[in-house]
C-alpha cells in the first residue's frame, strides 16, 4: 500500500513527550505533580498510508495527535513533516505547514459553527490561508462537497439541516479544501450509529485512493482500526507497546496488553465468539500521575517478573517480526 520503505516518510515522530503539570494548594497554585500523558512515542507515516493509533481512554492517543498538529506544545521530542521540524516553529511558518496537515474531530455537532452556512465553514481555511481570491474558491467548495458525496447546492444550508454522518462529511470536506498531505482523524466515526459509520469509513478509504493522502487514524474501536489501517500502533498509559503492519498486530500480537485488548473485543459471530479465548485483565489502568516503574503494564500483567519493575522494555523487534515493548514477548493468536 505504501512505499514508505524506500522514500523518506511523510511524518516522523521521534521520542515525543508531553507532561502536564497538575497544580494544587489553597492560595498559591503551585505544581504538585506531573501527569505523564505521552512518554517517548515514536512512529512514522508514509505517503498514502494509514497509521491506526489505538488504545483505551487516557492512554495518550489524542494528546499524541494534538502534539503532531502542534495544537499543544510537546514537552520534548521531535515532529518532522516532509523533512521540516515542526516543534518550535514560529506561528507564520507553522501556518504554512498546517496547510498540509489538517484535522477531523470526533463530534460533528461541535466542530461546525451553527450560524454559518456549511459552504462558508468549508471555505474558511481558504480565507485563512489567503487562497480564496487566488483560486476559484466557490468551485473548490463545490468540488469538496462532491468529493465527500454531498451536492454542491448544499453549501447554502446550515449544519442543523444535516444528520450526524452528513456533518462528519462536511468536516472532512473542510479538512480537504487545502489539499493537505496528512489528515489527523481523531475518533472520526465513534459518534455515529453503525449503519452511518459504514458510509463514512468507505468514504475515507475512497478519498485515500483518489487523493493519495495519508491518515493518522486515532480510535478506540479496534474493529474500525483493523478495517482502515495499513499499520497499527497500540498505546498503553502514554507509551506505544506494540506496532507493526495491520496483520502483524491483529494476527500475531506479542504484547500481553495487545492480546488482552484484542481478546476483549466481541466478534459478531456466535460460534466464533463462544469458542475464542478471552483474557480478562485484573484491576484498572494506573493513574498517569504515578505510572509504574519499568514496564507500565506490569501491574496487570500475568507474566510480570522483577525485570519488568526495574527495566523499561524498549519498543524493538525481538524476533517476532515487528516491534514490541515487552521483556517476554510471545506470539499468541486471540482474534
Amino acid at each position: 500500500m505504501s512505499d514508505a520503505g524506500t522514500a523518506a516518510p511523510l511524518l516522523v515522530v521521534d521520542d515525543l513527550v508531553k507532561h502536564y503539570a497538575r497544580r494544587g494548594g489553597t492560595f498559591v497554585r503551585r505544581v504538585v505533580s506531573t501527569i505523564h500523558a505521552v512518554c517517548g512515542v515514536s512512529f512514522t507515516i508514509g505517503a498514502s498510508e494509514t497509521l491506526g493509533l489505538v488504545g483505551e481512554s487516557g492512554c495518550g492517543k489524542t494528546t499524541t495527535g494534538r502534539a503532531v498538529l502542534q495544537l499543544i506544545e510537546p514537552t520534548s521530542g521531535s515532529v518532522r513533516f516532509m523533512g521540516q521540524e515542526l516543534v518550535g516553529l514560529g506561528a507564520g511558518a507553522m501556518r504554512d505547514a498546517r496547510r498540509q496537515i489538517q484535522v477531523v474531530f470526533q463530534d460533528p455537532f461541535a466542530s461546525l459553527d451553527p450560524r454559518m452556512p456549511v459552504g462558508e465553514s468549508i471555505a474558511e481555511p481558504l480565507h485563512i490561508h489567503g487562497m480564496w481570491e487566488r483560486g476559484d474558491g466557490r468551485r473548490k467548495v463545490a468540488d469538496a462537497l462532491r468529493l465527500v458525496g454531498l451536492e454542491p447546492h448544499h453549501a447554502n444550508r446550515f449544519p442543523n439541516e444535516f444528520s450526524g454522518g452528513q456533518r462528519q462529511r462536511i468536516g472532512i470536506a473542510r479538512s480537504l479544501i487545502l489539499e493537505p498531505k496528512l489528515l489527523v482523524l481523531d475518533e472520526p466515526v465513534s459518534a455515529l450509529d453503525v449503519s452511518i459509520q459504514a458510509g463514512v469509513v468507505n468514504l475515507l478509504e475512497d478519498l485515500q485512493e483518489q487523493l493519495g493522502i495519508s491518515y493518522l487514524f486515532i480510535a478506540h474501536d479496534l474493529s474500525v482500526v483493523r478495517h482502515i489501517s495499513d499499520r497499527v500502533a497500540v498505546m498503553y498509559l502514554g507509551r506505544i507497546v506494540e506496532s507493526g503492519t495491520r496483520d502483524d498486530v491483529y494476527d500475531r500480537p506479542q504484547h500481553p496488553y495487545t492480546q488482552a485488548l484484542l481478546s476483549a473485543v466481541p466478534v459478531p459471530d456466535p460460534r466464533k465468539e463462544r469458542s475464542r479465548r478471552h483474557i480478562v485483565l485484573e484491576g484498572d489502568v494506573p493513574s498517569p500521575e504515578h505510572p509504574p516503574s519499568g514496564c507500565r503494564f506490569r501491574t496487570r500483567c500475568w507474566k510480570a517478573q522483577e525485570v519488568c519493575t526495574d527495566e523499561t522494555p524498549e519498543l524493538v523487534d525481538r524476533g517476532g517480526g515487528h516491534p514490541v515493548a515487552c521483556h517476554f514477548p510471545e506470539t499468541t493468536t486471540v482474534v
Binding site: 483505551e56 481512554s57 465527500v148 458525496g149 454531498l150 448544499h154 444550508r157 439541516e161 444535516f162 444528520s163 454522518g165 452528513q166 462529511r169 450509529d193 453503525v194 449503519s195 452511518i196 459509520q197 459504514a198 458510509g199 469509513v201 468507505n202 468514504l203 478509504e205 475512497d206 478506540h220 474501536d221 479496534l222 474493529s223 474500525v224 483493523r226 478495517h227 482502515i228 489501517s229 495491520r246 496483520d247 491483529y250 488482552a260 485488548l261 484484542l262 481478546s263 476483549a264 473485543v265 466481541p266 466478534v267 459478531p268 459471530d269 456466535p270 460460534r271 466464533k272 465468539e273 463462544r274 478471552h278 483474557i279 480478562v280 485483565l281 484491576g283 484498572d284 482474534v335
Partner: protein
C-alpha cells in the same frame, strides 16, 4: 420450554408530546424462559430502552401503555407503585448504562448494597453488611471488606458497574434487565463487567434481558435475539438464526455495516440508505420499506406481520433450536433468509442518508 418467567404480550407505548403522539413501542411480544438470555438489539430510537422502562414500571407520566406484561402469574401493568416496588429488586432487577447515576454519591457502596438487602429481607444491619461484603467479593472487587467503606467516586467506572450488579444480585431476582450495561466502558473493562454479569447469572440463576446496540456482545451472551426497528419487533430467533440466517433486510444491513475484528479489512462495509422513520407518523406499510433494496409495491401497502421463517432443509450441525421459532416481519422473509448476509446493500461511499434537498 413451556415455563416463562416474563411474558410481554402486544406491548404498545405512546407518549403525548407537544409535537404529536410518539409511538415509541408498537406491538412487541416475547417470552423469557428461566435462565434464558434474550438480547434486544436496535439502533438509537428503536424503542429498546422504552421497553425496559415499561417492564420496570418506570415510564414517564405522559406515557400510555397497552398490552400485558406478566411476571410469573402476576400482571405488572396497572400495578400500584407500592406493589411494583415489591417486585423491583426481588423479582426483576435492573442494571443501567451509567453506574454513576444509579449509585448515590453520598453513601458508601457497602451501605447501598446492604440497603438493597434490607429493603426486601428481614435481617439485621450487621447481617446485611456482611452480605454486602460477600456480594462485592462475588463481583470481583478486591479487598471487599475494606472497599465496602468507600464512596462511589472512589471507584472506577467498571468497578461501579460491578457494584450495581452486586445490588441487582442482592435479592436473588428471577430476571435481570440490563440496558446497555457496558456501553460507556472501555473494551477491557467491558470484558470484566460481562464476566461479572455471567457470574451473577450463574449465582442467581436469573434470566437476563440484555438490551444493547453491540452485536458482538449479543453474539457472546444471548440465547435468543429480538431485533427492533422503529418501535417494532422485526425479527426474533436464536443467535444462530439471527447471525447466520437473517430473514429481515434490516438485520442483514446491520450485520453488513459492522467492521469486524476477525476480517482483514479487504471487504467493504455495507451502508443502509436513508434514515429511520419518524415515530410520530401513523404507521403505514413496512417501516423499513423506504430503505429496503427489495422494496415492492406490496411493502408500502401492507405492514408485514411477524411470520415463521421456513428452516433450511439442512439444519444439521447446529443441534435442535432452543426456545422457539425464527420469525421475521418481512413479506419475503424466506427468500431473504437464503441470501448471503448483507449482499443486497451497497458498499458505496456516497451519502445515502438523504433528508436534505
Amino acid at each position: 420450554m413451556s415455563e416463562t418467567t416474563l411474558a410481554v404480550q402486544d406491548l404498545n407505548v405512546e407518549f403525548a408530546t407537544g409535537e404529536g403522539t410518539v409511538y415509541a413501542v408498537r406491538g412487541i411480544s416475547f417470552a423469557l424462559a428461566p435462565e434464558e438470555v434474550l438480547g434486544i438489539v436496535g439502533e438509537s430510537g428503536s424503542g429498546k430502552s422504552v421497553t425496559a422502562l415499561a417492564i420496570m414500571g418506570l415510564l414517564a407520566k405522559n406515557a400510555r401503555l397497552t398490552g400485558s406484561i406478566a411476571f410469573g402469574d402476576r400482571e405488572l401493568t396497572g400495578l400500584k407503585e407500592k406493589e411494583m416496588s415489591g417486585i423491583r429488586g426481588t423479582g426483576i432487577a435492573m442494571v443501567f448504562q451509567d453506574p454513576m447515576t444509579s449509585l448515590n454519591p453520598v453513601y458508601t457502596v457497602g451501605w447501598q448494597i446492604a440497603e438493597a438487602v434490607r429493603a426486601h429481607q428481614d435481617v439485621s444491619k450487621d447481617e446485611a453488611m456482611a452480605r454486602a461484603v460477600s456480594l462485592l467479593e462475588l463481583v470481583g472487587i478486591p479487598r471487599a471488606a475494606e472497599r465496602a467503606k468507600n464512596y462511589p467516586h472512589e471507584f472506577s467506572g467498571g468497578m461501579r458497574q460491578r457494584v450495581v450488579i452486586a445490588i441487582a444480585m442482592a435479592n436473588d431476582p428471577a430476571v435481570i434487565l440490563a440496558d446497555e450495561p457496558t456501553t460507556a466502558l472501555d473494551v477491557t473493562v467491558q470484558a470484566q463487567v460481562l464476566s461479572t454479569l455471567q457470574t451473577a447469572l450463574e449465582e442467581t440463576r436469573a434470566s437476563l434481558l440484555l438490551i444493547t446496540h453491540d452485536l458482538g456482545v449479543i453474539a457472546g451472551l444471548a440465547d435468543r435475539v429480538l431485533v427492533m426497528y422503529a418501535g417494532r419487533p422485526v425479527e426474533i430467533g436464536t443467535v444462530e438464526d439471527i447471525f447466520y440466517r437473517p430473514a429481515m433486510p434490516y438485520t442483514h444491513g446491520l450485520l453488513g455495516s459492522l467492521p469486524r475484528l476477525d476480517s482483514d479489512g479487504s471487504e467493504r462495509l455495507r451502508q443502509i440508505p436513508g434514515a429511520p422513520p419518524s415515530l410520530t407518523d401513523e404507521p403505514k406499510g413496512c417501516p423499513f420499506a423506504p430503505r429496503c433494496p427489495l422494496r415492492e409495491p406490496l411493502c408500502d401497502e401492507e405492514e408485514p406481520a411477524l411470520r415463521t421463517v421456513v428452516a433450511p432443509e439442512d439444519s444439521s450441525g447446529t443441534g435442535p433450536a432452543t426456545g422457539g421459532t425464527h420469525v421475521a416481519a418481512c413479506h419475503f422473509a424466506d427468500a431473504v433468509a437464503d441470501l448471503p448476509v448483507a449482499s443486497m446493500f451497497s458498499d458505496s461511499s456516497e451519502d445515502q442518508e438523504g433528508g436534505i434537498t
